[in-house]
């Protein structure tokens, strides 16, 4: 078994602030993902990475940067937080990016922007 950890669990920021969310997995999975979940909406893919140092844009990449410096970690940066923004950011990983690979999710980081 393995685990995905996300830090911090709760993140409160100010408008315009640059905020970084971190994700670690010990599954030795190749592919990692960042999703954003807003109330009333499904998960939307922000970025994913199929291997170390690889980055692929998802549907919601504008306003975000990502970094995959190690196989086990994938960080997401909100480049300029928007006021009244509230969402849960979920990190996931899978053995490969294909459909046969189950995605395992972390517990999420809840973002609030004041």
């Amino acid at each position: 078994g393995g685990i995905i950890t996300q830090t911090p669990k709760f993140l409160i920021g100010q408008e315009g602030q640059k905020l970084t969310l971190k994700c670690q997995q010990n599954f030795n999975h190749d592919t990692m993902y960042w999703y954003r979940q807003d109330s009333g909406k499904g998960l939307r893919l922000i970025y994913y990475s199929i291997t170390e140092n690889d980055l692929q844009k998802g549907d919601l990449s504008e306003g975000y940067d990502a970094s995959r410096e190690k196989k086990s970690s994938f960080s997401l940066t909100v480049t300029s937080a928007q006021k009244n923004e509230m969402a849960v950011f979920l990190c996931a990983s899978s053995i490969s990016g294909g459909a046969v690979a189950e995605q395992f999710f972390g517990p999420g980081t809840r973002l609030t922007v004041l």
């Binding site: 669990k9 979940q37 009333g40 994913y48 199929i50 990016g97 294909g98 459909a99 189950e102 517990p107």
Partner: protein, 117 residues
């Protein structure tokens, strides 16, 4: 246009009841997979069912099953004998083999289920 549609945003049921959560999807691809995930209140996301067009690949629990109607592009999650621990948010998701979609899942908006005693 939304590719994965879950009609209910929230629903409540009594313990012991049977519940069907509906999901419809849009795809023109031959190869695709469908998933049902449960998002727990703790934040954990658990895969419940994976459905390929012809088979069921993963079933997490005997109380979870699906009604898959390929021609109608519909996959419903059925939970029998509801328990309070079934409370949570349920997501339907689609993966399709297409150059444009790459290696990503498209999720529905989710259905919040509350099970009361």
């Amino acid at each position: 246009a939304q590719k994965v549609i879950q009609v209910w945003s929230t629903t409540s049921r009594q313990e012991g009841e049977k519940l069907t959560l509906d999901c419809s999807y849009k795809t023109s691809q031959v190869l695709y997979h469908l998933f049902w995930y449960k998002h727990l209140l703790s934040g954990e996301m658990v895969l419940l069912i994976r459905q390929m067009p012809s088979t069921i690949a993963i079933e997490r629990s005997g109380r979870y099953s699906v009604v898959f109607q390929k021609s109608r592009k519909s996959i419903s999650l059925v939970i029998s004998t509801l328990q309070p621990d079934d409370s949570g948010k349920y997501f339907c998701a689609l993966w399709e083999l297409a150059a444009s979609s790459g290696q990503k899942l498209v999720f529905g908006q989710g259905t919040i289920l509350k099970v009361y005693l």
